[in-house]
Amino acid sequence: MKMMSMGTVAALYLGSSACTKDKVEEFLQKNFREMSETEKKQVIRRLEETYLRKYGKKFQISTKRAEAGILWGYGLDLSRCIGCRRCVYACVKENNQSRVNPQLQWIRVVRLKKGSLINLENAEHYYNPETVPEPGFMYMPVQCQHCENPPCVRVCPIKATWKEPDGIVVVDYNWCIGCRYCIAACPYKGRVFNWSEPNIPVEELNTDVHYLGNRPRMKNVVEKCTFCVQRVRNGRYPACVEACPTGTRKFGNLLDPNSEIRYLIENKRVFRLKEDLNTEPKFYYFFSA
């Protein structure tokens, strides 16, 4: 019954615009979590063809699954961050974010007066001095905190966003309907919205992508930090970790007692942002000095 009505809707939808077989398939595509392996392969092939047509570039779209025994965690050293925003732009480049109209960034670096760390109402993220760090200020980058109890996931009316077994909160862009409930629910402003068709210079496209991560998005969908799912599931550090000139950013497996992240949680002064909301972030701010 459901399939029938979907078919009718599809027919109506397609009747009104010039349509191709690809468009029909895209419209009838399932939620990523319900796809069989064959269906995934078909979708990937179709997407790769679409991207080739659109950008003239060959994309490698991975659907690599989470490995067992891994729960990713992130550490950020507030004694070291100087607010230079190198991470922001490395992220934009790695993850194919729209550059202008809309300008989408997954990391927001906020500047805080020293001594008022907990008062986020005085946070400023448009700071633009000649050089950083500025005396009397500290800097706190904020991005998706990959909550164990993510409010954004709970509010999604169509389950287009979920927490993967390795703890990464992801979005199926093809399933997202653009209602933006998740944006309203996130206490960290971790999500951004494609208000218009994304703009990325073709020569700057990263073609090494993951279906749930950095593949090019379309107008009217939500996107967010995925801990660089395309990199970390292949054993590489996220782009922001490698871009940071001060070594502020740490990453690792929370379930591995010998990981960097476990060491810092056990040995440094650590806090999680807005802990009182019971979101259980896997993003740990710490002070090494």
């Binding site: 050293d77 100087i82 925003r85 202008v100 300008q103 001095p129 050089t131 054993g235 590489r236 550090y237």
Partner: protein, 165 residues
């Protein structure tokens, strides 16, 4: 030891960009030696050792020592007998790729954090592949180690500007 030194020399000679060098304990980046300066013995082998603290007028004029300069001079860290090496306080000599041992003599707590990956930076594969550690000197100039201020990347565009098209 000799092989490692040759390897270091070879990498510099072909002008390869700094990259991972085999190291027993930590895979490290190449230390950022000034171009064309290594091996130091090219010049120093024929020179008499002068341990006197003085202003360098002919060579190394770009070095302004700003690192506990009242208590220190070149040969406290550079090995007078062989300038291609460094020297620890106990007299042991080490290669430039092990300079973290030298820094760790005074900065013990930082060195402890560095060893476990909390201070400093690592890149590459944290699992399964090649991981590379930045040496202290890849970020801190050993003669003037304070981290210098940087120009920040541009702030985000204010929404009222991007939407007011």
């Amino acid at each position: 030891m000799k092989i490692r030194f040759l390897c270091l020399f070879a990498i510099i000679a072909i002008g390869m960009p700094a990259f991972a060098l085999h190291h027993d304990e930590y895979p490290v980046l190449m230390p950022p030696l000034s171009e064309g300066i290594f091996p130091c013995s090219n010049c120093h082998a024929g020179l008499e050792v002068n341990a006197k603290k003085r202003e360098l007028k002919e060579e190394h004029t770009n070095i302004k020592l700003h690192h506990a300069e009242n208590n220190r001079w070149c040969l406290d860290c550079h090995n007078p007998a062989n300038r291609d090496q460094l020297k620890l306080a106990n007299g042991e000599t080490i290669n430039f790729t092990e300079s973290h041992l030298l820094c760790g003599q005074c900065h013990g707590n930082i060195y402890r954090d560095w060893k476990v990956g909390i201070h400093g930076k690592r890149i590459g594969n944290f699992k399964g592949g090649k991981k590379v550690y930045f040496l202290c000197v890849n970020c801190h100039n050993p003669h003037d180690p304070k981290f210098k201020p940087l120009k920040p990347e541009p702030p985000p565009i204010r929404p009222e500007r991007s939407h007011g098209r």
